[in-house]
Symmetry: C2
Subunit: 314 residues, 2 copies
Amino acid sequence: MSIAKVVVALGGNALQESGKPATAEEQLSVVNKTAEYLAEMSVKGYEMAVVHGNGPQVGRILLASETAAEVTPVMPFDVCGAMSQGYIGYHIQQGLREALRKRGRNIPVVTLVTQVVVDKEDPGFKNPTKPIGAFYSEEEAKRLQAEKGYVMKEDAGRGWRRVVASPIPKKIVELPAVKTLWDTTIVITAGGGGIPVIEKEDGSLSGVAAVIDKDLAAERLAEDIDADILVILTEVEKVSINYRKPDQKDLSVLTAAEAEQYIAEGHFAPGSMLPKVQAAVKFVKANPGRKAIITSLYKAVEALEGKAGTIIVS
Amino acid sequence: MSIAKVVVALGGNALQESGKPATAEEQLSVVNKTAEYLAEMSVKGYEMAVVHGNGPQVGRILLASETAAEVTPVMPFDVCGAMSQGYIGYHIQQGLREALRKRGRNIPVVTLVTQVVVDKEDPGFKNPTKPIGAFYSEEEAKRLQAEKGYVMKEDAGRGWRRVVASPIPKKIVELPAVKTLWDTTIVITAGGGGIPVIEKEDGSLSGVAAVIDKDLAAERLAEDIDADILVILTEVEKVSINYRKPDQKDLSVLTAAEAEQYIAEGHFAPGSMLPKVQAAVKFVKANPGRKAIITSLYKAVEALEGKAGTIIVS
């Protein structure tokens, strides 16, 4: 059998332990543990690219920038996303290099700063829902709305926050570099779902304030590089229906048709399991005969061998 | 003649116009202009990698982080460097893609998050001199010194600042990826001189608070990828002796031996022209027959054709 090409999407718990201080040092120690599991996948012979989330990290970058507005200009959200790719990518490439090296595998690992094109007509831009950055009073929120054109929404009694669109990823701008590196290098790319850019009428790119779902970005990458397996890592070992109810049922295999029915029945939480299942379904429908896996970091190697996790097939 | 391989080091004025607000938008507009000149070099057939500075940008990232210390943990300086690579690299790769595209050259451009190994015994660590981040009162400075072990120095009557080492770059960790991409892609790498890391006794890498000179990092890269030409861009068209004196003499050609004599005579300002001339001399001494160029962004293409700038030869 030829070597399988795998795109791995890392969930938030692979980067940061909840309840621990949100320092870079704590995060690096979590990333170093995550790297051990990724290195094990490489040892088993899988070729891979890594896509990671950035929600808490880009949130803190923006929060620091907004808090320091009087001493240095606030960074636009696309730039904050680029900064989070540098930050998180640095940690992953350092940790993964070491985890591989300890196993005698001197495979280069590198992070590509990655732009992802979204459609400027994406319906998400008409009705932004993704909260980012600091909490504001109603008065400050109204002022930001007027001065900067931000869309501000009240957030569950905790104050007002800016909300941005979560558009669908259409094209990975730096895909050629991912392809060139693939055979020799583990590439970390489309971090945080990618820096969102729109294609203007003249064909030039321009950053926008938006959050691209990282599982959908990983799916886009998996299609584009013709991956054999899309692995979406999260906190639970398997996808469940009737989640956290007495009749919860964990799923070992799920067809695209079953998954779509469960989606229609509302089994998966938006912003949580739903986009993962949607990404998995999209991948296997576009690539019949290929598979997607949703599982935990700790079960990833077993799941690749068909012994754990939820496998989604066309 | 075969295609010449060029490493270009971009100075601070290629990223930001002095006197303009330090916003990301202003910076992007400067970067877009810089990209036009880089694209012209590509049109002339030169293959290139781009190394850029990050002084003002990483300074503002750290300043924002320190200012927001009460709401979110302060980022270590190596992480701030990684963030600046993401930020600046994103702008350059977006601007350069467009400048190339307008010229009908669809060459991929990508930024690699880049670690650069420095020697933990580098004398710079014993006597740090490079100021970074915010200004503090003497009392705050003493507290930071005691609590965090920072080295704090009084800065020309303006207050106290943290100082870090400026060690010599020894090895570019992500060099294999630069080499793999070279033939097809314009790579932006070692931004800000690279994220400084030391190699620990067990061979693992660990980030340190330090500033690597970006011209020396570009020189390291030029040696390692066997470049034909190292181009160091700055604000002036030519290197001068007796700079800004009545007998100022602009130099069109400079041998390594002449350059070393002028260095010994103190003609070049530390932190300004000196590291550029040193990097140029190091490159041509290591590669007799090759050349280094020091010139302005605007004269770069002419200088490559031997019609402008200062050419340094062995």
